[in-house]
Amino acid sequence: MVRRLLKDFRWGVLPVPGRVIAIIFFVALFVIPLIMDHPYYLRMFMYANLFVIFAVSWDLLSGYTGQVNFGHALFFGVAGYGSALLYKYFGWQPAQTVPIAVLGATLLGVVTCFPALRLRGSYLALYTLALPIMLLGVVISLRDITGGEYGIRLLPGLAATATGEYYVCLLVMIASVLIMWKLTDAGSKYVRTGLIFHAIREDEIAARASGINTIRYKILAFAIGGLFAAIAGALYPHVRGTIGPSSLSLTTSFLAVIWTIFGGIVSIYGPIVGVYTLYPLVYLSLDVKQFFVKAIAGVHSAPLAGFLRVMQTLAERPYLVLAVIVILVLLFMPEGLAVRIRDKIETECPRCKLTNAAWRRECRACGASLR
């Protein structure tokens, strides 16, 4: 068993740069709390890990299956509020409230998505967009139960220490991403869903003609995407300590879309790259601003200080920078950042379809020329 894993690692991972980067990335995530235990920065990674689950689940539903859902915050917010309300009224701990909230949110999501099965394209996008906003109005108006705009505060954490919470988030993230990766793998021998999701996206009528019950698989896609979004949503208030109406807002729904499309839609690593590039940008904007403030105080030449002042203003407006980056990426690499980088460092062998490093001359398995 160990020998087989080592062999896989030697021949399946090391020759492919993308897989090496992925392994280094995940190992780094495990090591981070050992070398840095500042809770403020650990928290950034916890949020980022939860948002990775959220973005990948959106990608599974909207990217792979093509059911464009602009209201993914529905699952996220309902699970978050569910878990918080169970704590508030019954005093249960996260270990009990999170699974119940996840199941509840998934069920609610699937039920409300039944009308969505008749809709396609823009109509579907706008229908799904409406759902969390409708709920948002209800949440704010029922302020006795949900706390209105202030939300529910003082929620219990997932573990006693920040490091413990970090590892809970990390392990949940890795497990969720692995499961979703396997479920969407079109070449898998064991799970058919990946291939069928691709077929539904490409041509639903053709998929039906091939004897696939597309309705059942679309519901399944909604259920899987909703389940994982709900997992992220149920853990989020416990990491943060509070939950407010922002978890159901338009911004939350759109952030999943922005992260995924920025990194590369219809790929599991795309949303991961998207979240880990764009989320720190917003989270660390205060630190960056402080850095520029200090730099301006230390600089004496006028033009340099002017430039630094512009940078400081930009650091104060992270969403402006985010929006400009999104526009530039979509204009110049519409396939997404991660996919573009992958195409630069990897090529597919024309004969045996095996992935090779871009700088190799021949395929590593069959020896066919790659040029």
Binding site: G137, S141, I261, L320
Partner: protein, 291 residues
């Protein structure tokens, strides 16, 4: 609120939404582009009125004369430079237009702060109609809306340009074969639509409080209306706008906490229409798009 007031308010509300969603619907019909930043031009027009009347001390007529062409030009530039290049990718268009809205919001926040206030009423005072007091600005808005919608309707039905636009909306490929330049028609349509949004923003500048986030509610309403009326249908968006305007005011007038719940009820109306009639009230389904 008295019933007469509800009617006046919903007419004003619906009228402004109609100006906005007719433009949105036109762009979608002609170019299959869901241009969400359309609501941003309404906000920019309101801010531009504030800038010229309050900060530059210009008169109202001069400010309008600068604002409407300037916003239209900006809309055309953004269309040509950004949206036109990615027209083939619907999700990319949605994202870019959302990003544009965020940029508008941040830039306005940087230049005007969080809560600059409103502009002065164009026509002060009120009139008494059927025994209720209505401020003159509302009458002005109703007049402007009526004129703008009539002109657009006449333009679309009676002129050669209108026939061109409708031809492209019906079938872009065949229109292209008949010698119509689709991209040029699309540009002109975008211009008309942005001008309508700018007019809506100008007349609403004294009514709505100006905030950098004020695009949110009109954008949602605009989307709800075109879904309700049927994407791409002009008649549908006008009727949908008045239905939605009426529902919104009615909820605020009747329910306690209606200020928070009006959006919920408006969206509920949309969801019900979508479930009962997925193509909207006046929309058409093409055989090949049916499932």
């Amino acid at each position: 609120m008295s019933p007469e007031l509800v009617i006046i308010y919903s007419l004003v509300n619906g009228g402004v939404y109609a100006l906005l969603s007719v433009g949105f619907s036109l762009i979608f019909g002609v170019g299959r582009v869901l241009n969400l930043s359309h609501a941003g031009f309404l906000m920019l027009a309101s801010y531009s009125m504030y800038f010229f009347t309050r900060q530059q001390g210009l008169g109202i007529i001069e400010s309008i004369a600068i604002t409407v062409p300037a916003i239209t030009l900006l809309g055309l530039l953004i269309y040509k430079l950004l949206i036109d290049r990615i027209r083939e990718h619907p999700t990319a268009v949605l994202l870019v237009t959302i990003a544009l809205l965020l940029i508008f919001e941040q830039v306005l926040f940087m230049s005007f702060g969080g809560n600059p206030g409103s502009t002065d009423l164009f026509v002060p005072g009120y009139s008494v109609i059927f025994g209720i007091k209505v401020i003159n600005q509302y009458l002005l808005i109703l007049g402007v809306v009526a004129v703008a919608i009539t002109v657009t309707q006449l333009l679309l039905t009676k002129t050669k340009l209108g026939i061109t636009i409708r031809a492209v909306a019906n079938d872009a490929e065949v229109a292209n074969l008949m010698g119509i330049s689709v991209s040029k028609t699309l540009l002109i349509t975008t211009g008309i639509a942005t001008a309508l949004a700018a007019v809506a923003g100008v007349v609403m500048a004294p009514i709505w409080p100006l905030t950098p986030g004020m695009w949110g509610s009109p954008m949602l309403m605009m989307m709800v209306i075109v879904i309700l009326g049927g994407l791409g249908s002009i008649k549908g968006s006008i009727i949908g706008a008045f239905i939605i305007g009426f529902i919104q005011i009615l909820v605020v007038a009747l329910l306690p906490g209606g200020g928070y719940l009006n959006l919920t009820f408006v969206l509920l109306a949309m969801v019900i229409v979508l479930i009962v009639r997925p193509e909207g009230l006046f929309g058409t389904v093409f055989e090949e798009e049916k499932l």
